[in-house]
Symmetry: C2
Subunit: 464 residues, 2 copies
């Protein structure tokens, strides 16, 4: 990303005026004189924002905006359309084309710069999320379409419910979104009736219930609404108040009387953007889950198991209660794969995994740490309870044949288990990680012994 702002205008004077204003606010700029060079620069230079004149010599600003939005290389760049015209039609067309804002010349500098700050702030947050979720792959597109086609939820907050009801009546014909009327109090409650809105429309003047600006700040600080979109509804264009609202965290400004069609377009845009950010957050979360799980069985993987063993040892030192570790290995598993094929082998591993999980306590850890090798860690265990658990696991695996896929019958597999009880750790023990490693090594030696002594059995490490 070039971190520059792209100015698109065919008139040199206009470009220079904007450049001076932006440079004074410490933004670097790029310039384009027509639509096609704007599109090329947007792709190549990845500006952080585009200020786009509506009237250009080759293609219209609207068309440029539409093309920017359709191109995966540029769709995320914020676009502000600037025009001398004040007509409503152009404004609606600009928003329909995907413009983030529409400003009329002569530009109010305070508003322009506050808009830029607000768009950049939102854009950076989204970029950061996108960068993270792209580390591990694409969005789950199937989920994406379901999410985007679900209607959103709009919350209206005005000084009087009657005012909000008027807004609702005006907006409803233009929106597929569900619309709720809220008071400042219900808006701030932890679990608002009807769910948390995707976007709040907040009147700047809430009468006896305080200032809309403060409510915006309050919504931004609450866990349930901090990622929602917020538009402040101002009685008239007041540049200073408007700028402050954007800086406090409003995503958009609307002026009374509300233009229903324009408001609906803006609301739709914000709902879509908020959904995208929610999806990116989920995708980061999913990526992080993947880092610690085994894809076949859904159990934790080796990496997680080793880290978690350290925590269990640490906890044992704090509580003074010992922990136990088992290493489990399927006996002669290769012959299952060789006889029935890999698909059957995978099905056996899945069944073994779910039997292990179902026969342990929630606090116990079960992980698949190798092809047919599993680790079980039991916090707060005694040798007695751990041995009983190990013997139970042997039985639940070995006593019941495992059905094979495609009706190919069933196969009986057995496991060998090596069990070791962690040492009695004094609180001053320096290195619980070393303790975890030692205990694991003892469990491994016990597993070797179980294999040598005929398999399908539990062997307990004698040293402790």
């Amino acid at each position: 990303m070039s971190r520059k702002i792209l100015i698109v205008d065919d008139l040199a004077t206009n470009r220079i005026i904007l450049k001076v204003k932006l440079n004074a606010a410490c933004h670097e700029t790029l310039q384009a004189v027509d639509g096609s060079s704007a599109l090329r620069l947007a792709r190549e230079e990845q500006p952080k924002l585009i200020l786009l004149d509506m009237v250009l010599p080759d293609i219209s600003g609207i068309e440029v905006c539409r093309k920017l939005r359709a191109d995966p290389a540029t769709w995320h760049i914020p676009v502000v359309i600037i025009t001398a015209s004040t007509d409503r039609e152009s404004r609606l067309r600009a928003l329909e084309a995907g413009a983030d804002e529409f400003l009329t010349k002569p530009l109010n500098e305070v508003i322009l710069l506050a808009r830029i700050r607000s768009l950049l702030r939102a854009h950076e947050t989204e970029s950061e999320l996108r960068m993270r979720s792209e580390t591990w792959g694409e969005l789950d597109l199937a989920e994406g379409e379901t999410v985007f086609s679900m209607p959103g939820h709009v919350g209206l907050i005005a000084a009087e419910p009657a005012v909000a009801m008027n807004w609702r009546n005006a907006l409803a014909p233009h929106l597929k979104e569900r619309i709720s009327i809220l008071s400042p109090t219900t808006a701030l409650s932890d679990r608002p009736q009807g769910g948390v809105p995707d976007i709040y429309l907040v009147a700047a003047n809430l009468g006896a219930q305080g200032s809309g600006l403060r409510l915006v700040a309050d919504l931004r600080s609450r866990v349930q609404s901090r990622h929602a979109a917020i538009a402040l509804v101002l009685p008239e264009a007041e540049p200073e108040a408007a700028a402050m609202a954007l800086d406090v965290g409003a995503n958009d400004l609307l002026t009374l009387p509300l233009d229903p069609q324009e408001t609906a377009l803006r609301v739709t845009l914000h709902v879509r953007r908020k959904r995208r950010a929610d999806q990116l957050r989920r995708s980061v979360h999913k990526g992080l889950r993947m880092a610690i799980t085994d894809p076949l069985t859904g159990l934790y993987n080796r990496r997680y198991a080793i880290a978690h063993m350290d925590r269990i040892a640490n906890k044992a030192r704090e509580t003074g209660r010992r922990f136990a570790v088992m290493l489990l290995d399927l006996d002669r598993f290769k012959s299952v794969n060789d006889t029935y094929g890999h698909v059957a082998g995978d099905a056996v591993l899945e069944t073994v995994a779910s039997r292990l999980r179902d026969n342990l306590r929630p606090a116990d850890l079960v992980a698949r740490i190798g092809g047919e090798e599993f680790l079980v860690a039991l916090p707060e265990a005694t040798l007695g309870t751990a041995r009983l658990a190990a013997e139970r696991l042997c039985r639940v695996i070995g006593d019941h044949p495992i059905p094979l896929p495609e009706g190919r019958g069933a196969v009986t597999v057995t496991i060998s288990v090596g069990l070791a009880l962690g040492p009695d750790l004094a609180p001053e023990t320096r290195d619980p990680a070393a303790t975890a490693r030692d205990t694991l090594a003892r469990a491994d030696a016990a597993l070797m012994a179980a294999k040598t002594e005929g398999r399908n059995q539990v062997t307990i490490s004698s040293a402790a």
Copy 2:
């Protein structure tokens, strides 16, 4: 987390006054009458914030604060100490004990609520990060200590450099942090000389250079400073301006004349908190990297390779240029493990991985998708270029013996390669993912053929 605010005060009237104020601002509350019940409630209920009276019947508020900070279950909860005393010593002790803020009775409601909003906002951001990084394991503690012991960087911004220089002279004796003097312009530049500060101290009045409040908003919107701490320096206690500054994104407020010791304590606190958040962000990033890489070789893993294949097929449809896939398998690798042991086997896999990586283009994908099986995807390939690449890989592996660890000599391994060229995709092709799967299956069949026909060779799938 209970999402409640814990009020700790031994006087019922004080608790009721606070409870009424907080309820009016839609915060639910919990109450404690002494230090020990405060500590218990903090652990059990996990309040989102604690308002703590300085004087309590059992242990002092300072002591409660210290204990909260020392306990892993409560150290992250924001604490505001409230007191009737205005003496400087208590204030310093409260900050030293880890309090986030210190407010004097009678409480100014505007300031109290703005502080709460600001602390909750910061706290929620940190909680979200922490939750994510904990999904996959603990922080890298070794890294943590290095990071926290490095001195931070403080940027001072006042109307005149002479004023900032006075601040620096006053603060320097109390801080190990490096201190820079910046103008609003240098503070906003992309790559400020001397690096980006961890914390900015910004004068509310910047004279001819505008308002400090606006600069705070501007710093919050810039990619380099958006995660930094910011304290606004006010000429006097002005509740409305102070509240606005917090809502716009300042983390702290300081009043002139600066108390050097208090300022230093606050700066240190903010630097530490910012470092912790930076570390959490890195740890999320690292977790996401782990989700897509093979820990032994550092190559991409199977999960990533399959997702990436879909993208390559999609791209091929867009550009009209074909892609190729190779599946590579080490010949008779089991004998290496059996003869030389797993450690030697792992070393061989690592060397093979780095030879593959070094002999492909940056845009090509190399992944380890099984024990000794690798996948290579070549975007924009022809059968000719892909075959040359495959033959080159065969040679760079088979022609040079691989040294074994611990001076145990070297071993020569060969690979078999199955190669398939993706089909010529029409732009209207519905499902690039299916194309990717088909091509992979053809490469797999070709690999089987290579194995059957004597290994150490490239076999090309005939169908395309």
